[in-house]
């Protein structure tokens, strides 16, 4: 089985081309959803975890992982685990920068969102003009993972990636 003579890192490199269909600038690696890679005799078993329980992108991502590995010559199986639950803290530093450049304010520390849930204030920077004079329009946005904000200076709306 010489074609299974592959390292974990090589598989990760191949998977670096698989992106989130809803935020195409982010790879699965940036999102921190790959939990394990197990290289077996006849296949590679990739374990992922969903960001949100109902995230419709997960099935899509699992298919993309299998297709991408197949194209690189590897048979694979994708498993999903729920524990430990995904946290927005797992998004890489690089992922956060790409997210902001794409127009989505990256998540802050989970404690800040928890404070906001209890009625406290949270400062989120506008992705258009950088102003911190912003307000939340809705806790629920265009996808399960985002809240809707508006900038009080440039008046533009923007997405904020929620902390969970």
């Amino acid at each position: 089985m010489n074609r299974m003579m592959v390292s974990n890192q090589e598989i990760r490199d191949i998977l670096s081309t698989v992106t989130d269909p809803e935020i195409p600038v982010l790879t699965v690696e940036d999102m921190g959803i790959i939990r394990n890679i197990d290289i077996q005799e006849s296949k590679v078993v990739v374990t992922i975890t969903p960001t949100y329980s109902g995230c419709p992108a997960m099935d899509h991502i699992a298919t993309d992982i299998r297709t991408t590995l197949k194209e690189a010559g590897y048979e694979s199986e994708v498993l999903s685990v729920l524990s430990p639950p995904w946290s927005s803290l797992w998004i890489s530093e690089n992922g956060r920068k790409k997210m902001e450049a794409y127009g989505i304010a990256p998540p802050m520390e989970p404690t800040s969102d928890k404070k906001a849930l209890l009625g406290g204030e949270r400062i989120v920077k506008c992705t258009h003009c950088g102003s911190t004079n912003t307000k939340m329009i809705s806790q629920f946005g265009s996808t399960a993972c985002k809240a809707l904000f508006q900038c009080a200076d440039c008046l533009e709306p923007f997405d904020y990636f929620k902390c969970i």
């Binding site: 524990s83 809705s138 629920f140 399960a144």
Partner: protein
């Protein structure tokens, strides 16, 4: 197959399934774009949680079935949801009152289940809890806003609370199975959840200027499969595709 565990999972999952369906009916019909999106996001979260439960139930059942079989191919009397979640979307206040009472029950329920000795139920609860905190915040904020808003919004919110009040008792009615699951460390303790629910809902209603109804009587039967006539209509729509085109997939 572990029949008791399978049945217990249905008791947990059928509530968010039917409530999720009711919320999905509002897609494109919310009172404003933001609330429309919020309600359908909550619906999506609930369906995601239900999918996790049903995938596990299918595995426990061990008959090679999928989550879709469990969601779409049971008959009315085989659903274990409480009657409260079947109630229609009369107006936004009704939608909020139903959600408020359910969330006030759902959050402490999941907090308890997170400590279950069943690893998969614990994992599903931990995951769901992160999402349900947002629902809990959303519905209680709206009870305050409508209750303490205009004369019209107050009247409607009070009417909705009065309507849903006699449905709440069923959430805390402990069936023999729930009692057994609590005692063996798998299930949640409904008796312990009730005071958490009471103190939270009373606090929010007081802040909203809502008069707390005093009646203790409650509708009952859903957990045993005796439902209101709403469920038949819900299932007609929910199950349409699988009934008309058996085994279809997207």
């Amino acid at each position: 197959m572990n029949t008791k565990l399978y049945e217990y999972i249905l008791l947990l999952a059928d509530n968010p399934l039917i409530l999720g369906h009711r919320l999905s009916e509002l897609c494109g019909h919310g009172p404003s774009l933001e609330t429309d999106i919020a309600l359908t996001n909550i619906s999506l979260d609930l369906f995601g949680q239900v999918r996790n439960y049903f995938q596990y139930a299918a595995q426990v059942q061990g008959l090679g079935k999928s989550e879709d079989d469990i969601a779409f191919l049971r008959y009315e009397h085989e659903y274990r949801n409480v009657i409260m979640v079947e109630q229609a979307n009369k107006d936004f206040a009704w939608v909020i009152a139903r959600q408020f009472f359910f969330d006030a029950y759902h959050k402490p329920l999941l907090e308890q289940l997170a400590g279950s000795n069943d690893a998969q139920l614990s994992a599903i609860a931990h995951k769901s809890l992160k999402e349900v905190q947002y629902h809990h915040h959303f519905s209680s904020e709206w009870v305050k806003r409508l209750g303490d808003g205009t004369e019209e919004s107050h009247t409607r919110m009070q009417d909705a609370i009065n309507h849903f009040w006699p449905y709440m008792g069923e959430l805390f009615e402990e069936t023999a199975l729930e009692k057994e699951m609590k005692e063996n460390g798998t299930g949640a303790d409904l008796v312990a959840i009730k005071p958490v629910f009471k103190s939270f809902t009373n606090e929010i209603m007081a802040e909203a200027g809502i008069t707390v109804p005093s009646s203790e009587w409650s509708h009952s039967g859903g957990k045993k499969g005796t439902h209101s006539e709403h469920l038949g209509f819900i299932l007609t729509e929910l199950q349409y595709m699988q009934r008309a085109y058996p085994n279809m997939t997207w």
